[in-house]
Symmetry: C2
Subunit: 213 residues, 2 copies
DNA sequence: ATTAAAATGTGACTAATCCTCACATTTGCA
DNA sequence: TGCAAATGTGAGGATTAGTCACATTTTAAT
């Protein structure tokens, strides 16, 4: 099992920036690089995004781009990190004060809606979440992010169901979370109407499991 | 990164074989090409698979390879089609005679196990299902396959719950199916123990929804 | 102010790889 | 047999990620 996993990933690590921007000048330029990448991904998708075009739109040379982002994945990774930080904050806030079944029901429902709208509205993130599947290192980021998000959910579960096995609750939370992302990817690709129905069904299923005794 | 072919086809269509092998000789060679591709994907993943190496291992020239597979995605697509045909047959058989709730419960449970084992055992399929996410055309194949599989499930549902809205049952089946695939992808990447627990929880959730009144 | 070191910037160039194409060979068949 | 269709070949075109030797700017210590 573990060896098969190893066989699949020639251990692709996302390298850290060759160099952190320490001066004002370079910090501004890095900002322009990220903005250019974001625009291009929204317009064409991350596969079609060319490093040369990112540099050109940011008004820097290709060499400067590679000074701060050691490879193409690094700049996509940087955008993904920015987004995951934002969404974690939002999730944490939404679930912080939940203290009973009804509250969970409402908070969870709202959270799903927030996420769904985010997926629909943010082309860069849609592209990254999809593209992510083919990239081992980005997939690890996605999984780590899912675990972090699921942790908020399992914290609530542990409060509401103190008698249940905590490990099982963590597993449940992780599964429910990933299924939600899958449901949304599906919802996006089937069109708005069926997508809305799919998300509603997902909510029902998830809640039944989360509130089960 | 991958998929240079994409820039030649803005439509993201997977072209059909430039030429169908009509003579015995070429049919054998195409078989060797597919076998070589399958081996290489199992060994290194489809991204790392090089067309030149496929040709070399199959004992044909690069030109011959491109004679029957117009681009790299086409050969991956061909392998994917082979597997989806096999699994559809297996699913159809498992669900054919289901006529009551208990039967569905058992058949569905077995089906999940079969699929789970298939995912665990077949590296090519694992790679293709993952890589698929980054490729629009392959994603359409996956979705079409999911719809086809879900159709078997929704057929049973319509029998068992004739009062329910048929369209809603179809949507439910599709969602349950895709969630299952997501659960399994997750199960694979977290290791055997947690993976087994995840699949068990998925089964419980799916069944509750499928059998709900 | 001077100056050395560190940070930053540049773009021609390399390497890797997908895919094409002009031409050679083999097969089916009238 | 002879010819058209099918099949086979591999050097080379084209694209693009990523490198590197060198130029310029900033920092900071004397």
């Amino acid at each position: 099992m573990e060896d098969t996993a190893a066989r699949f990933s020639p251990q692709e690590q996302v390298a850290s920036p060759r160099r952190a921007p320490s001066q004002q000048r370079s910090r501004e330029r890095v900002g322009r690089m990220l903005a250019a990448a974001s625009t291009l991904i929204a317009e064409q998708g991350s596969d079609a995004m060319r490093m040369g075009e990112v540099a050109e739109r940011a008004g820097v040379s290709i060499g400067s781009l590679y000074q701060f982002f050691p490879d193409k994945r690094a700049i996509i990774w940087a955008l993904a990190e920015r987004y995951t930080a934002e969404s974690q904050a939002c999730i944490s806030a939404a679930l912080a004060d939940v203290s009973n079944a009804e509250g969970l029901s409402q908070a969870f429902s709202e959270l799903v809606d927030i996420y769904y709208r985010l997926f629909l509205a943010e082309p860069v993130m849609r592209d990254i979440w999809s593209g992510t599947q083919a990239d081992k290192a980005l997939r690890q980021l996605e999984l780590a992010d899912s675990r972090a998000n699921a942790e908020f959910l399992s914290a609530v579960l542990k409060r509401l169901r103190p008698a249940a096995d905590p490990v099982a609750l963590e597993t449940t939370a992780l599964l429910v979370w990933q299924m939600g992302e899958a449901a949304m990817r599906l919802a996006i690709s089937v069109g708005r109407d069926e997508g809305d129905r799919l998300v509603a069904i997902y909510k029902r299923m998830a809640l039944r499991e989360l509130l089960a005794e």
